[in-house]
């Protein structure tokens, strides 16, 4: 038995285009069998990073290893371990879906009949059987993206790069893509996924690296990232709007924090220690303030992103 190797190990990776520091000293470690999210706005260096890891581009400095193989010195070995699905569908427009897959299969060393069988199987799995022989020019964005992903899976690679797999897809198609991605990991693949959608990273990724201007600004599980932003918020909906001031005073007395009331019946307070909530509820009962609803709001990744990069994630609003 060989000991488990990290799927990706990146140290001090750099890529400059003239003055533009596209990737500026990035470190990443991606263990086997996880979905790893690389989150960042347009132009943060996500695609450049993937291009270097997928041997499409040579780094200016630093090292990157895929399952222990150097992406520059052992590029061809790395190519046998990866599947790449780019931001723009990398399939042949002039050929049909099945012709595309068969050619990729043949290039990967499958025989004519094996390639055909594999292509048919993948088209079936991705719901493209009916469109198999149609020229790609008539494919929708979602179909193209699915075909592109199918093409990356012919060799059943243990590591799959997905560069913004759902950008520009409608919500239903996006959810289907998410299901497919989750299924891939169940089968033992490791996935590195870039996205500008915080929700997507939150939904899919086991770990997230937030990058901005070519640097990793935060790394951790989605929960760790949210925690690093600070306390959760306690939200209390009280039954009687007239008693809101009294409720605020009670909270101040028990929790020792200032409150806000964004709506007539809603009162919010930062929650540092979940144990003290019990005391607060008991205090409310004693003074006779009735509650309609109690909830705890964790900070959203949107807030995490804003806190880390000092920018709103404009791409999200623009494209969704």
């Amino acid at each position: 038995m060989t000991k488990p190797v990290n799927a990706i190990e990146v140290k001090g990776l750099k890529k400059y285009f003239g003055d533009n520091k596209a990737v500026d000293d990035i470190d990443l470690t991606v263990p086997s069998g996880v979905i790893y999210g690389v989150l960042g706005p347009n132009g943060a260096g996500k695609t450049t990073t993937i291009n270097m890891l997928a041997t499409l581009m040579k780094p200016d400095a630093g090292s990157a290893k895929v399952f222990g193989h150097d992406v520059v010195k052992e590029a061809n070995a790395v190519r046998q371990l990866i599947g790449v699905t780019g931001q723009y569908a990398s399939v042949d427009e002039k050929l049909s879906a099945i012709e595309n897959l068969v050619i990729f299969g043949r290039l990967l060393g499958l025989s004519r009949s094996e390639s055909k069988a594999k292509a048919t199987e993948l088209l079936e799995e991705f719901g493209l059987t009916e469109a198999a022989k149609r020229p790609l020019a008539k494919f929708s964005g979602g179909m193209r993206r699915r075909l592109d992903l199918a093409a990356s899976l012919i060799a059943q690679p243990p590591l799959i790069f997905l560069d913004e797999p759902t950008t520009g897809l409608d919500p239903r198609t996006r959810n289907r893509m998410w299901d497919t991605i989750r299924r891939l990991v169940k089968n033992g693949s490791t996935i590195l996924l870039t996205t500008q959608y915080l929700e997507e990273a939150d939904q899919l990724a086991d770990r997230i690296a937030v990058i901005d201007r070519g640097k990793v600004v935060a790394e951790g599980t989605p929960n760790e990232l949210k925690k690093s932003i600070g306390a959760a918020t306690l939200q209390l909906h009280i039954s009687d709007a007239k008693r809101i001031t009294e409720a605020a005073q009670t909270i101040k007395k028990v929790l020792g924090v200032d409150t806000q009331n964004p709506e007539p019946k809603l009162i919010t307070a930062p929650m540092r220690d979940p144990d003290t909530v019990t005391d607060l509820l008991v205090a409310f009962k004693e003074v006779g303030i009735k509650l309609d609803e109690v909830s705890v709001q964790k900070p959203s990744l949107d807030e995490v992103f804003f806190a880390l990069t000092g920018k709103t994630n404009s791409a999200k609003k623009g494209k969704k």
């Binding site: 000991k3 193989h69 061809n76 042949d92 290039l107 020229p135 243990p158 693949s189």
Partner: protein
Amino acid sequence: MATSTMIIPGEKRVVKNHTSLKQTIQNSLTMAGRGLIKVRRNPEQLFDVIIQPILFTLMFTYLFGGAIAGNVANYLPIIIPGILAQTIVTASVVTGTQLREDMDKGVFDRFKSLPIARIAPLAGALIADIVRYVIATGLTFCMGYIMGFRPEGGILSILAASLLVIAFAWCLSWIFAFFGVIARSASSVQGFSMIILFPLSFLSNAFVPVNTLPEWLQWFVNVNPISHLITAIRDLVNNGTIGVDFWLSIVGGLVILAIFVPLTVRAYMRKA
């Protein structure tokens, strides 16, 4: 679900960091096959090698036949080899423009990320284009035959001449492949190539006897490799002989290969 078979983990896979010659040849042939499927899908890619032989043969034969050779029948042995060489030389430019178009597309990124021989997309394109030369050659001789061309050298000489002209075109296509690799866009390849090709193909002995030209032009026409190619074809199909021009054409082709294969491959590998 069909692909529910478990993926073999990365560390347990046996990977190799070199591509064997056998794999290189297989990959190149697959890429050539891809080129042919594309031709089948877009037959208009063959317009130049279909229209030009038909149109030029008809046009130039009836236009110049009387003036240059007295009549059409006498002109055919002169003009058919000329048009053949011209058509096939122009056809070889497409290698460059199509290569450039291909390299600009997303699918090229996928080829780069696959564990295949780096050279395969280039080699495949060059191999697939041979089909174009075969079509152009066959059509030119057919047109000649329909118009009354009965070569003295017989069928074997026609085959030999075809092989020569196709081989020469293939050598020439390396020049345009090089432009294709280094150029910014397909249209710049096209434009640049035409500037070179027009003088080369028209300032030759393709259409008119060289001795009717001014002396300075005679000099150029006589050193022009296309003239040697045309003379070699004429020798073969009209007399069934292999003359000095045949060998000069072959040497010319080899010189092109010696210069442009290393240049093209090096420029290509830098981008691939």
